[in-house]
């Protein structure tokens, strides 16, 4: 092996550790994502409650419908058209805004992760490679890989759940129309199951790739655990 091969290997090592950094950041950002999305749901609930209280307060058009449902109707007509429109679409718009806001937040956070800062040092050749290896905090690196593994697994689960929800929403309308045409009652459990199977089938390749990445992180941890042991044990002082 030549000097170039050493540098290539160290470059691969540092590249893999950069990826670990990204996964670790993702773990933290997923919590932010959940908070943003839940905040959007809270806003939606607040909006719906506020709107209902307003209609209730205006004291017209609210009544108990059969089966014990409390329904408000005509009074909202006094509100500006834009508010009425927003109210109708709020159930869709607010969670979508939360979802998009969460995605943008995660994306921005991932772009802020500092990677490839080691390239300049590695440009010095073998001394640079020695410096990078020397300065690695192996215990921290192994901890980061452990955290990344769990973070990545959560990300993987959230992604599947997200696709599943999307499939449910997309399939709901054609399914409902189809069942109505056949004069049958829609079965949400069946729809949920079909959506899940569809998601698994369509995203099969992606799911396999993600699974392999989790396994790769595991392998990387074992490889680095061995290497860090060798590196610590080596006597470099002449």
């Amino acid at each position: 092996m030549s000097e170039v091969q050493v540098l290539t290997k160290v470059e691969e090592l540092m590249g893999a550790l950069d990826q670990v950094k990204r996964y670790k950041a993702l773990t933290r950002l997923l919590v932010d994502f959940a908070v943003i999305f839940l905040a959007a749901i809270a806003v939606l609930l607040g909006w719906e409650l506020g709107f209902d209280f307003y209609r209730l307060g205006s004291a017209t058009g609210c009544y108990y419908a059969p089966f014990g449902e409390f329904t408000c109707t005509a009074s909202s007509a006094a509100l500006p058209l834009a508010v009425q429109l927003f109210s109708g679409l709020a159930i869709l718009l607010i969670p979508m805004a939360g979802l998009l806001g969460g995605i943008v937040w995660v994306d921005r956070g991932l772009k802020k992760v500092e990677v490839e800062g080691w390239k300049g040092v590695l440009g010095e050749g073998i001394p640079g490679a020695i410096k990078l290896l020397q300065e690695l905090n192996w215990d921290l690196v192994l901890d980061d890989i452990r955290a990344s593994k769990s973070g990545y697994s959560v990300y993987f689960t959230v992604k599947v759940a997200g696709y599943w929800m999307l499939a449910l929403v997309v399939l709901f309308f054609p399914y409902d129309v189809g069942m109505s045409a056949l004069h049958l009652a829609p079965n949400m459990y069946a729809l949920a199951l079909v959506s899940f199977v569809l998601v698994v089938l369509v995203a099969r390749g992606d799911l396999q790739k993600k699974y392999r990445q989790v396994v790769s992180l595991d392998n990387l941890m074992w490889e680095l655990r061995w290497f860090s042991g060798e590196f610590k044990a080596a006597k470099f002082e002449a």
Binding site: E3, V6, I130, Q134, Q213, F227, E237
Partner: protein, 94 residues
């Protein structure tokens, strides 16, 4: 050459930089070497003193610093060690 040593354990990175410069350029004046390795002159002299004691470098008749066979061998062994161990690592393709 000064026999002063680095105040603490010598930094392997600095030693490697000195050896690499000497290996690439042959003999060098201390000032040239300090510039090439981006070390302050004082620190370079301390490192050279330590490396001289270990037999990695020597001074020729014109006060140039020269890498000895032993210095070259130690550097080669270090490179081989990295090759051997880092070379064994298998990195995942994420």
């Amino acid at each position: 050459m000064s026999s002063r040593q680095p105040s603490s354990k010598p930094d392997l990175y600095v030693v490697a930089r000195i050896v690499k410069e000497l290996s690439d350029n042959g003999s060098m004046k201390r000032t040239q070497l300090a510039t090439a390795t981006r070390l302050s002159y004082d620190i370079l002299v301390r490192y050279l003193g330590w490396m001289n004691e270990k037999g990695f470098v020597r001074m020729d008749g014109e006060e140039n610093v020269v890498l000895t066979e032993e210095g070259h061998d130690v550097y080669e062994r270090l490179v081989e060690w990295i090759l051997e161990y880092v070379g064994k690592l298998r990195f995942p393709r994420f």
